[in-house]
């Protein structure tokens, strides 16, 4: 029999409904692949094989009766940020030691409602704070891609590094992820996978561990554009339990995938042509534009003048929100507790032992910018800049642009333990320079693999869309996917 894990999610769906194989067989194939690969890749922080087999058996019963949801029997991985009832949910942090929620996040509940099977919980940067998955309490994820002829370990990106690596290495048919400043799209670009961050409000945040609430959105990581669209449809939807969830009908995103780009206007923002940008990124960008033009799109130069201020504004807004959201981890209600001589001592010792360095740094920045005397100068100023960033996009869209094409990242995946990046937190933050604007404006963005760098590592392009127009992004990303003539599969070494 062919290796069932190599099938796309769409092909697996077809195989299940055609009864070419069972959900149990498909699930067992993935469980076997995880057992063999995870010691090398570190993509999963917890596996749930028994639960997976139970869910697969239930799917098989439905499929045998000709029933079942849109994802019936499809094995998925879940980022450790999503609450899964009775199952390891720690945001890859020590401070949530042993936490097993009594409830299920809305996004994962939607997936199980539609028939999906849970394989386990995926590694990530601690509390989704990072761009290399190196801040995880469970250690870094190893990218399934590496430079040909080298055994140097590369990062899978972050914060959804486990999700991206598991999808790329055939350890799940698709995965949930979250994106606050680029945490779906940057790991997608580093692993040759497709990642969609939907419009803010499209997917419920209820039951997802909060990092920066005004920026956080859940979305899928998948091996193809169509697979990402299938997952996005199931993950989305109005949820009265999330006050920022938007009450709009969810389109059948997969139906938009083959729609093409004929007649669309694609914007090319001049501010994304950064000084010192590698020539291969510039070439990739031009190639992407040529592909879209060849399919009937018009390309237009545009300006988004406040682009360079998005990242500094993000490093005010996101730590501020994080310092408030993470105040709940106190050693009393759940997770780690370090005893102290009084209650303040208990809080301080628990939080010192439970949070990693990057998380502490961000909580402290957030505490500082919200403290008396600094609030207006930092936080209010950053929120005003955010208004200007959003206005830049609104003006471009109202002038007839349908979507915007940019590079996804300034480089391909870098080495685990890169010393220059470890020494300078700001250098690491620059990884998100092309993606963070999208979160600041609440817009949808998709990263799609589009080429390779000089060493053969995957590179991604990003498409940015109008609010709630994810469909155009899926259609345009599909044109790029078809044009590359490359499936971006890693060469198996693990």
């Amino acid at each position: 029999m062919t290796d069932l894990t190599k099938l796309s999610l769409a092909a697996a769906r077809k195989g299940l409904t055609d009864k070419s194989f069972t959900a149990t067989e498909l699930t067992d194939a993935y469980i076997g692949a995880i057992e063999a690969a995870n010691p090398k890749l570190n993509a999963y922080v917890a596996t749930t094989p028994e639960q997976a087999r139970d869910m697969a058996r239930a799917s098989d019963e439905k499929l045998a009766r000709g029933q079942g949801g849109p994802l019936e029997g499809i094995p998925l991985g879940v980022k450790d940020l999503f609450a899964t009832k009775g199952v390891h949910t720690q945001a890859a942090s020590h401070i949530l030691d042993g936490f097993k929620p009594e409830y299920e996040s809305t996004v994962t509940a939607n997936l199980w409602r539609d028939g999906a099977v849970m394989l386990g919980k995926l590694n990530m940067d601690e509390f989704a704070m990072g761009s290399s998955n190196e801040t995880s309490y469970y250690g870094p994820v190893v990218n399934p891609h590496r430079v040909e002829g080298s055994d140097a370990k590369l990062v899978a990106g972050g914060s959804s590094g486990g999700s991206a690596a598991a999808v790329a290495a055939w350890l799940c048919a698709g995965a949930t992820a979250t994106d606050t400043g680029g945490s779906i799209r940057q790991p997608a670009a580093f692993t040759g996978t497709v990642g969609m961050k939907p419009t803010y409000g499209r997917a419920s945040r209820w039951g997802t561990v909060a990092y920066a609430s005004s920026l956080d959105q859940a979305g899928p990581l998948a091996r193809t554009v169509e697979d990402a669209a299938l997952l996005m449809t199931s993950m989305s939807g109005f949820d009265p339990k999330d006050s920022t969830s938007v009450d709009l009908p969810v389109p059948d995103f997969a139906a938009a995938v083959e729609r093409g780009v004929k007649g669309l206007t694609i914007g090319v923002p001049r501010e994304y042509r950064m000084e010192g940008m590698p020539q291969e990124i510039e070439a990739l960008w031009q190639q992407g534009l040529e592909w879209l033009k060849a399919e009937g799109a018009t390309v237009k130069d545009i300006s988004l003048p406040h682009t360079k201020y998005a990242l500094p504004a993000y490093y005010v807004v996101s730590p501020a929100e994080a310092s408030s959201n993470l105040a709940r981890y106190d050693g009393v209600k759940y997770g780690l507790r370090v005893s102290g001589k009084d209650i303040t001592d208990l809080y301080e010792l628990t939080r010192a032992a439970g949070f990693g360095r990057e998380v502490k740094r961000r909580i402290m920045i957030g505490t500082y910018v919200l403290s008396a005397g600094y609030f207006d100068a930092y936080y209010v100023k950053a929120q005003k800049v955010r208004t200007l960033i959003k206005k830049d996009f609104e003006e471009v869209f109202s002038a007839g642009v349908d979507a915007i094409l940019t590079p996804a990242t300034p480089s391909a995946a870098f080495a685990i333990g890169d010393e220059a990046l470890a020494a300078d937190p700001v250098a690491m933050y620059l990884n998100d320079v092309f993606t963070v604007t999208v979160n600041m404006a609440g817009l949808p963005g998709i990263a799609v693999p589009a080429g390779r760098d000089g060493q053969g590592l995957p590179l991604g392009l990003q498409l940015i869309g109008k609010p709630f127009d994810e469909e155009t992004l899926f259609a345009a990303a599909r044109v790029i996917e078809k044009s590359t003539g490359d499936d971006f599969a890693p060469t198996r070494w693990w």
Binding site: F99, K100, E102, T199, Y200, G201, S214, L215, P240, S243, T244, V246, H306, K308, Y309, P312, A313, Y315, V316, S323, A327, G331, V332, K333, Y334, G335, L336, R337, G340, K341, D342, I343, L346, Y347, E348, L349, R351, A352, K360, R361, I363, M364, I365, Y368, S371, V380, K381, A382, Q383, K384, V385, R386, T387, L388, D424, P425, V426, Y429, M440, G442
Partner: protein, 95 residues
């Protein structure tokens, strides 16, 4: 703006994170690197610009002020490190 050692310790206390004496210098330089990066925002003219409060143009929904959930204290304390009779246990707060 930059932070000195005393400010680092004060932020640590406000954030309820114990900062040991030997850690202060490290945090000080990291925080100043980030604040230095953020300093660019000073270049932006924001006169007459409203601060963003909601990224999507929407009002927060309201619901009726009714109890719609609850009644399961044992689930609430299930993950707590120390409990007694469905109460969270903490060191003595009031003498």
């Amino acid at each position: 703006m930059s932070v000195d050692a005393a400010t680092v310790k004060r932020i640590g206390r406000l954030a309820r994170i114990r900062i040991e004496e030997e850690e202060v210098a490290g945090y000080q330089s990291e925080l100043n690197a980030i604040l230095g990066f953020v300093e660019q925002l000073a270049e932006v003219n924001v006169e007459g610009v409203e601060a963003m409060t909601s990224v999507m143009p929407m009002q927060l929904r309201r619901r009726d002020d009714l109890v719609t959930d609850g009644g399961y204290p044992e689930q609430i304390v299930k993950n707590a490190p120390l409990t007694e009779d469905n109460f969270f246990m903490v060191p003595k707060v009031v003498e």
